[in-house]
């Protein structure tokens, strides 16, 4: 009996999800992605090299492109091109889920020092590039292109909040309006990756202020970072509005109506667009404890008049304040009031 009860609590009714405005996979694919994201624009975000090019052209802040390796023979002559680089990141243009990213934080004589502190030789770097070119990390194993970009110096503010990996902020932008955001913190369990299903911590962010509202790991509420023990309650993203404007501008660049923007905060340069995603996941709803649908519908109900980026961001900040939607509860950090 107890077992059955425990099992059943692992399920929710469709009406509960509907009442809470949870966007589901089928609806995301059928009513949002396929309707608002034109196929012809997918390559812009699926190919990170293309993303970099258009983002740079539009003067949207992003890590700088240093070099591109397109063919195997180039790798034989890569040594002189890497000579003057102490810190850099090698990425596959068509990688997914953070695969195939090599982060070099320093040089030690012959060796390259990875972010984990491990020293590797030049030939290891070359082999990594060969793997990228052969399509080891790309979707469907297609031959790929490797590119080298500048290393992001994560703002010290996050030093205690992230284990190994780079914390990033995911903003869902719908028709140019930011609709929901979360901060993703890598953990030991997630192996430095910022994917929630791999065990990263997702921190819901209030769209009005950039303050943390609640945090989840493995779909469970948490209050502290599991590795650093740092309380997550007081997180507040600096220059929040500027960050939202950065995300919202990506709509103009890509013309993708339903877009996920991954943003990192560089110590010196501030928020930078790391990558864009035409099929952003749904767990942002769990991290925020709020469903996406009411917000998407709110934007859909607006007139299609051209509105400036600033106006859109102000609209979102005014309408999508997370605390407001849950102000029946004292604070999401406290125990919830009985229903």
């Amino acid at each position: 009996m107890n077992f059955l009860k425990k099992y059943l609590t692992g399920w929710v009714s469709p009406s509960y999800l509907k009442d809470n405005g949870i966007l589901c996979m089928n609806k995301r694919n059928g009513d949002y992605i396929s309707r608002y994201n034109s196929r012809s624009r997918y390559p812009l975000v699926d190919n990170k090299l293309l993303t970099k090019e258009v983002v740079e052209k539009a003067k949207i802040a992003a890590p700088k492109l240093i070099d591109v390796v397109r063919a195997q023979y180039e790798i034989e002559h890569i040594a002189p091109r890497l000579e003057n680089l102490d810190q850099f990141v090698v990425k596959p243009a068509n990688g997914s889920g953070g695969k195939g990213i090599l982060v070099i934080v320093a040089r030690d004589g012959e060796y390259f020092v990875k972010s984990s502190g491990v020293r590797i030789t030049l030939s290891a770097v070359e082999r990594h590039m060969t793997n990228i070119l052969s399509g080891l990390h790309s979707l469907g194993g297609k031959p790929d292109v490797a590119f080298i970009e500048t290393l992001v110096h994560v703002s010290d503010y996050f030093a205690d909040y992230s284990y190994e990996g780079v914390p990033d902020i995911r903003i869902i932008v719908f028709k140019g309006y930011p609709v929901m955001g979360m901060l993703r913190l890598a953990t030991h369990q997630s192996d430095g990756k910022a994917n929630l299903h791999q065990g990263a911590v997702g921190v819901g962010l209030d769209l009005a202020t950039g303050k943390a509202t609640m945090a989840v790991q493995h779909n469970q509420r948490v209050t502290h970072h599991p590795d650093t023990g740092q309380p997550l309650e007081h997180i507040e993203i600096a220059n929040w509005k500027q960050l939202l404007i950065l995300a919202a501008r990506c709509f103009e660049v890509t013309r993708l109506g339903y877009l996920g923007c991954d943003i990192v905060i560089d110590e010196a340069r501030g928020p930078l667009i790391l990558e864009l995603n035409a099929r952003p996941g749904l767990s942002v709803q769990i991290a925020n404890g709020v469903g996406l649908l009411p917000r998407l519908r709110c934007i859909e109900a607006l007139d299609d008049l051209p509105v400036s980026v600033e106006e859109r961001v102000e609209f979102s900040m005014a309408h999508f304040a997370t605390r407001k939607t849950v102000d029946t509860q004292e604070s999401l950090w406290a125990e919830p009031a009985p229903a």
Binding site: T9, G10, W11, V12, S13, P14, Y16, L17, K18, N20, I22, C24, M25, N26, K27, N29, G30, D31, G97, K99, R127, T130, N131, S134, G135, L136, G141, P143, M214, A215, V216, N219, Q220, R221, V222, T223, H224, Q285, I286, A287, G289, G291, L332, W333, E335, P336, A339
Partner: protein
Amino acid sequence: MPHRGPFLFLIALLVIGGIGTAVYRHRAFAIPFSPDQAQTVWQVEARVQFAGDGSATNIFLTLPPDQTGFRIVESTRASSGFGYSPAYRDGQPQAHWSKREVLGEQSLFYKLEIVEDGDHVVPAIPPATRTVPSWREPYATASQHLLSMAMPISADGLSLAQQLIQIMSDERGDQNAALLMAEYQTATLLQNLLLAADVPARTVEILTLEDGRRRQDLKTYVEVFQDGSWHLFDPERGEVHERHNLLLWVTDAPSVLDVVGGRNSRVSFSMISAVRPALAVSQEQFGDFGFSLYSLPIAEQGFFKLIMLMPIGALVVVFMRIIVGLKTSGTFMPILIALAFLQTELVPGLVSFLLVVGTGLAIRTYLSELNLLLIARIAVLVLIVIGIITVFSVLSYRLGLIEGLNITFFPMIILAWTIERVSITWEENGPREVAVQVGGSLGVAVLAYLMMSVPLINHLAFNFPELHMVILAIILLLGRYTGYRVMELRRFAAFRSATNEPPAT
């Protein structure tokens, strides 16, 4: 939805078109909807015998008309030395044999295959006007008397016939009836009495179908036309309601057999019944059903039997992914596995699949250390899969496990890709994700296999390919389903626990 109307119209069109065509073909060609529907097939042999006297001979054998309740599937004849041509006389088909010079005892055979088919309905032809027979005395008076007895206690033609039969069959009955029956054949008498009373009636010759009977004769019955159909009467017992074993042989023609230029002519009937699959029977009658897969050579037919099952597999995959939300490795890989299962049987198929993929994975682990380029890696895997299959086949044959041979039914390229994909998933997302995806794929494959091996589905898919339009409509509808998947009800349970439960400390 801006295009909802046309979309629903298309769906309706597909469903109606598919089902409509199927029903039409079922009616027109008697293709059964169920695979094990059996039909009783009667083989009736009419044997014509006569003695030729050396002159030119014409033989006309009346054949049963197209009638309600029976379908004539096939007719053959055996008559060496005789010329044959089909003929038609007085609204009935006839077999016409002819020969210039016939001497001695002759036997001609005409064989019919007849199927009992309650769905086969032939509209009744209203009676032609018949001349009312003129009676000689004292029969005229007797018949009037008999009618005046039966008339008051009857309401219409049917009840009049019923009453007349009763009066005539009463042994110690009416003297007039006895008088008439001494003169006339009972059936002819009944017909004439009815005609005299202005009731449309006719005598018919019927054959009683009984398994294994030989040398049967036709019996003369009477039919009365009323309310748009003919009602059959046994002149000795009354109206016949149970007529599934009564075959009308002669309705309008004057006689069953006409031999010109021969003596001692007679016809007798033998019959046997057999129960045969309905499908085979209608195939015999209609050949390849006009435009159907049966017009293909046998080898292609076998191929299409599998192909026509693939939409079922596709439907299962679409359902399991869109409605249930199961993860599979490779979108339609489960269909191909399911098709292989169809040929290997389920358990041997599962075992060999897991064996090959498992062994392949172990070898693939070594390959990943070689840093091969992708295309080369896949090609190597194809060779490895072939190697594994060969070794397993030989090994299991040596050990006396014949099932091992079935491994060859799995498409090798698919196996190679499966190993590659599973191996990458293992490296990138861990064994848990592999278990989820392989489990999901095999689950969907097994479900698709179970669906595909239902005899009814097999039968419908091949014999009514138009029903795939209905499957298409269902898949189109599923493609527009934007509701929650079953697995999401579990996934988003986290939403509830995350928002309603206190944080862990």
